[in-house]
Every structure is written in C-alpha cells, then in structure tokens.
Amino acid sequence: MANLKTTEKKTKAQSMGLHTEVLTGKTQQKFFNPDEAENFYYWGTYDVDFNKRTELDVNDMDCKEANKKIDELMSQGYGTIVIKNPQGKHSLGVGILNKLNLIFEGSLGYFGVGSIDGPTVRVNGRVGWSCAENMMAGKVVIEKNAGSCFGAAVRGGDLICKGSVGARTGIDQKGGTIIIGGDAGAFTGFMMQRGRIVVLGNVGINLGDSMYDGTIYVGGKIGSYGSDAIESPMTKSDIDWLKRKLKVAEIGENFDVSKMTKVVAGKKLWNYDALEPTEKKGAI
C-alpha cells in the first residue's frame, strides 16, 4: 500500500517546497492497490433484475425517506423502479451506484440524481438546479427543461435534456457527454476540463468561459464567447461522433450536425504549456 511517506518527491511543485507535509494516522492518504482488487467492495451496490419492476409513490415522503426506500427496493433485487409524484422535491435518486432503470413520473427539484454511478434514469418532467451533479457513469434523460448547473462536474456517462437548460451547464465538467435539445443559458461549459457538450439550439453569453479542455458543439446562435474559448474546424470524426451520439440519445433526428460550431479551449488564459506533464494531467 503506497502512501505519501514513500512517494518520491519528483514533481515541480514538490521541488518548490509544496506538498511536503507528512500525513499520519487517520489523515494518511491511501491509494488503490490492484492487488487488493479481489477484496474490493463497492459500498451500496446490489445485484438487481431489470425485469423485476415496482412503483414507489413518494408524495408523502421527504427525500431521505424516498432515497432510503429506493435503496431498500434495490437490495430486494428490483431493477426497474418507477417513482410516482416526485412533485419537484430535491435530492431524489442521489448516490445510486449500480445498474438500475429508474423512471420519475414527474419533475425533480435541486440536485436530482446527483453522484450516480451506473443507473439509467428517465425523468418525464423537468429538473431543477444541479441535476446529475458529479455523475460518474450511466445515462440520464430529461424529457422537459432543466435548471442551471445542469451536469455540474460530471465525470462520465450521458446526460440528455430534450428541452432547454439554464445557466452554467456543464460547469467544471470532467468527462462524459451532455446533450441539450433546446437552448442553453449563459456560461455554458464554464471552466470545463474534459468531455463534450452538445447544444442543438442557441447558447447565451460567455460560452466556454475559462475552459481548460473539452469540446462544445453548438447548433444555433452563440451569445458571446467567454475568455479563452475559441472556434475550431469541424472534422469528419466530430460529425461521425455527433451523428452517432444523437442517434443513441434519440434526439435531433434530421439535424444537420455538419453545420454546428465547434468550440474548444484556446489554452492561452494561463501558462498551460509551462507545466510539467504530470501537473498538466492534474490540472485537467
């Protein structure tokens, strides 16, 4: 098991005197060891059967009760769960770490299906701010509109909104794909670091402001570009990828992706090229 005590001080930051603290006791940082993978237990996961279906009415439940009930149902092997009457409640369906078909018949409030890793989610309504924040893997489809910070800091998976979204979509995005069928507000892709954002409609001001990396595709008008966001030519691989992704997402049928605008990071905003490769990797 590696720890900071035995890690060689090779990085530029450490040679400059940074990160030299020695951690002990409970604060000691541990790293994943592949040799121990056999005993690795992913907490909160269950073997579920997609054909085992149930419904859950959360009208009289708060979010804690509802999420606990979803967990209980998964522990009983239910692989398809339909949530009735979500009524715009916050934080529903968060922290689900295994395969699951989760269907919300209604709208969610803030932080819906945040920090998920694996489930396929369909929301037959609208979602509030910060939907699918920190999503690791899986697929989330929103049938109507979404609020601001849609897909904040997502790291993987597909996040699809068939309507329009608010401001700061994909803020701090670290991977995965976000697809918007309608318009997106200001600061779309703000400080994004990896991954792709596809907006079929218009976007607001400051698109891709301070983005480190990643790609944004826009089908409509762009309000304005943010700092360090620049246009880049569309390539065949871009077009092929967009066609495939939109088809899988069941959105934008007959949409001419070749006319979309591709936006990437100019990487001039900060001294990106002066970094060592390891630091560059850490930065993005």
Partner: protein
Amino acid sequence: MCGIAGLIHRGKSSNVGQELQGMLQALKHRGEDSTGYALYGDTDGQNFIMRFKVGENVGEGSSSVMEDVSVYDERKKIVDSYISQMGAKILKEERTLPYSLRYEIDYDKGDLLEFSQKIESIPGVEILSMGKSLEVIKDLGNAKAVCDRYNLGDLVGTHAIGHARMATESGVDIKSAHPFWGYPFSDVSVVHNGQLTNYWNNRRILENKGMRFMSECDSELIAVYLAEKMRNGATLEEGMKDSLSGLDGVFTYFVATKNSLGMAKDTMAAKPLVLYESDDLVAMGSEEIAIRSVLPQEIDTYDPFDGEVKVWQI
C-alpha cells in the same frame, strides 16, 4: 439564501393569501428569519390602505430595540393627528399587533410623497405600504406563522409576491424584511433574492435625488431604484430593464403594481427562478416546490435566462 414567490391570476380573483402562504411555506428552508407578503386584494379602489408599524419585532442581530406598548400608543396618536392635518380621514382602523396597524384612509390629494414624509417624520414609524389594492405584511417567522398572526388566509385578490428571508446583509427585524414598498408610488412592491454590490454608491446617488431609504437592506435599493425611474417617466418595464445594468451583483427580483407582476434576472443568472405560465395563471418561485403547492398536477415549467425581464398584466 432567501426564497421568493409570486403569482398572478389573469381575468379572475382567487384566495391569493392562502396560495402565497403555501408557496412561501414550501420555501421555508431558504430562510425563516422573516416572511413578507405583498397582497393585491379586491377593493373598490376608492380609498387608500395604509399598512404601517409603530415599533419593531426584534430578532437576533437587529439594531432596533423592544419598546413598551405605551410608546406605540403615543406614536399612533401622533400618526392619527398628522393624518388629520394632511386633510385625510381614517375610515377604518385595525390593530393586528401592538406595533402593526392597518388603516383605510380617504385621501384625495394623491401626493403620497408629502403624506408619507409627514407620517414617517415620527421616530419609530414606518409605512410598510400605501395603495388602493396593495397590502404589505411582514414580520419575523416563517410563512405560516406570519399568515396566522395576521390572518391572511382569507384574503382574495388577483396577484401577490412574497419573500422568505435568511438575513445576511442586515438585521432580523421588520424594517429589513421584504417586500419593500416602492415609496412613494401607490401599489408598488418589490421582493429580491440575491446580493447587490453597488448598494452604497446607488444609495448615495438616490438620496441626493431625494429618495428615501428606511433600512440598510440592499434589497430596498431595487424598490427605490425603480421608483426613481418611474418618477422620471419610465414605465415599470423600462425601469426593470435599466436595472440590469444599473444594479451590480446577483439578483432575481419580482415587482408588482396594481395591475401587473414582473420579474428580472441578472446577467449572470446566478439566482434561481422557476416559472410556470398559462393563459390564466403565472406562478413563479425560487424552487419548483413553491409552484407545486398551488399546482400539484404535472405542468411545464422553465428557468428564465440571464438578463431576462418579463411583465404580466392581470
């Protein structure tokens, strides 16, 4: 954090007191320091309704002080005499709480500036609202507590805006609570969620133009700012559009007049707002759960974009 909510019925009246109470109570987790209502009731439009306070309900962090009821009585007497001096007549008088009063007044001169300045020259007295339809009720506690205290559940009207406050910029007291009256304009009220960063600069400019501030709450600036624009001939919508560049900071605010309800969102879109719009009802709030309290069925809602201004008529 604070939460705001508002609704307007188009072409009919409804129990807006009860409806707004439900909306604001759904937002109580956004702040329970104080709750305020601006209700536009059905009236004959003949007389002014004046809601005012002669003392404070004081909470943590307030610079106000608790005072004896005899002080309130003394102030009330002076208010009554000043109203008479101004040529107005008190038609109906209600004293809901020792420090909070509601008068129906016959006053035909129409210059509310002179009238308000006279009344507010009495130390400790503040007019919360003045209008022929508007009634601003605000006090400490959550929406239900304030609604029950002032018996607002039965109020019928066309539209209303309200605010659930988590005090950040000023103390926990009524003078800092929302909504703010658009002094000295009849029937204008404002609620705000956010922070204004050029409050003092704007306040100095507006005070030099003769505008009045009663609190140190940054949100009051919006009411005063819009009132000053309208005083100079701008329409409400023009004033609101101008505020997007004139006010600095993050904000979503609602403003209501006798016949209309409007919303404005700053150019950063940093503060939330969810909106439902149909031919006969517009309902909006900081969170969808506020709208759900009046429309539990599945509906289409959306977030207005950055820099958006909208105004609806009854």
